[in-house]
Amino acid sequence: MDLAFSGLLTAAESYVRQGKRLEDVCYSLQETTFAMLTEVTERAMAHTEKQEVLLGGGVASNKRLREMVQTMAHDRGASFYVPSRDVCVDNGAMIAWLGFLMYNSGVRMSLDDSLINQRFRTDMMEVTWRD
C-alpha cells in the first residue's frame, strides 16, 4: 500500500519552472494524488471486504482528502471516520493513545527499551489490543 509521488512532484516542479500558475499546479497535484490515495483505499476495502475506513495522520487534516474519502465511503455504503483536525497533526497524542491501548492489552516495556524508529511502519506492528 505504499505510494510514491516523486514522479508527480518532479512534473509539478517542472510546470512551475515553465511559468504555469502555482495555484493551478498545486490544485492539479492535490486532485491527482488524493484521487490516487482514495482509489487505492477503495481497492483495499473491496479486496478485504471492509465496510469502515479511518483517516489518520497529518494529511488527514486536509479538507479535500477528507471530502474525497468520505464521498467514496458513502458511495460504497461504508462508514467514514476521521479524528478532529487538531489531533491529526499531534504526534504526541497519537503515540500516547497507541501506548494506552498497548498498555491496557498487557504490553509492558521499560523506558530503556523504548526508542524512536522512523522507519517503523504501521503494517509491521503486531496488534495485540483487539481480537
Binding site: 486532485e31 484521487a35 482509489e39 477503495e42 473491496a46 471530502e67 474525497m68 467514496m72 458511495d75 522512523q118
Partner: protein, 207 residues
C-alpha cells in the same frame, strides 16, 4: 434479463446479463464522485479500452480469457463470456498435492505466455483465475498494461507471490511450482525475473 450483481469491486460492478440469448458477464465501470468528472470520464473510457485490448491480445497468444462480445467506451462497459467455473482461490487448498502442483505449473505457463508478449496482468491473484474445462482462465485485466521492463514482470509475479502467502499460506511453497512453469515457458531470461522478485522482496521502504 436477470442483471443480477454478482460482485461489486472497487471500480466496477459485475453483472450476469443476456446477450443474443446467452448468459454473459457485463462489467460496468462506475462513476467516481470523488474525482473531477472530466478526468473520471476519460479514465473510465481509457481503462475500458485498455482492458478489452489486453483480453483480446492475451487470447491471441493462447492464454485462456473470457470471449469478448461487446465493448462500450462511453458507458464503460465490457460484455464478455460467463465462465461458470471455480475461482482457483476457492479450490486450490482443497486439492491433493499433485493436482495442486499441476494447476500451479499451468498458472506459471500462462503468465509466461503473457509476459512473452510483454502483457502485464497487474492484479495476479488466485481470485482472478477461473478453473474451467481443465483450463486456467485469467480474468480482470483492469489494472493491466503493456510493459517490456523486467521490473514490471517481477512486480506482476510478486503480487501473486503475496497472494499465495496470504490466501494459501499452508501451500505458499506452491508458488515455486508457478515459477517452475513460468521459467519453462518464458522465452526471456527467467532467472533474471526470479532475481528481480527476490530484489523486490528485499527492497526496503524509506531507504
Amino acid at each position: 434479463m436477470t442483471n443480477k450483481i454478482l460482485y461489486r469491486g472497487a471500480e466496477a460492478e459485475i453483472r450476469l446479463s443476456k446477450y443474443m440469448g446467452k448468459t454473459v458477464i457485463r462489467k460496468q465501470r462506475v462513476k467516481k464522485a470523488y474525482r473531477i468528472q472530466e478526468i473520471d470520464r476519460q479514465l473510465i473510457s481509457f481503462r475500458t479500452k485498455e482492458e478489452a485490448k489486453l483480453i483480446a491480445e492475451a487470447r491471441s497468444y493462447g492464454v485462456s480469457v473470457p470471449l469478448l462480445y461487446d465493448v462500450d467506451l462511453v458507458k464503460g462497459a465490457i460484455t464478455m463470456e460467463y465462465l461458470d467455473g471455480n475461482r482457483v482461490k476457492d479450490i486450490l487448498n482443497g486439492l491433493d498435492e499433485s493436482e495442486r502442483k499441476r494447476i500451479c505449473l499451468k498458472i506459471g505457463e500462462s503468465i509466461a505466455r503473457l509476459h512473452n508478449h510483454d502483457i502485464i496482468h497487474g492484479d495476479l491473484t488466485t481470485s482472478n483465475m477461473i478453473f474451467l474445462h481443465d483450463r486456467i482462465h485469467f480474468i480482470d485485466f483492469g489494472l493491466g498494461c503493456k510493459n517490456i521492463e523486467l521490473e514490471a514482470k517481477g512486480v506482476d509475479l510478486h503480487v501473486l507471490m503475496e497472494a499465495f502467502e496470504s490466501t494459501h499460506s499452508r501451500y505458499s511453497h506452491c508458488f515455486e511450482y508457478v515459477l517452475e512453469g513460468y521459467t519453462k515457458h518464458y522465452r526471456g531470461d527467467g532467472a533474471a525475473v526470479i532475481t528481480k522478485i527476490e530484489e523486490i522482496v528485499q527492497r526496503g521502504r524509506y531507504r
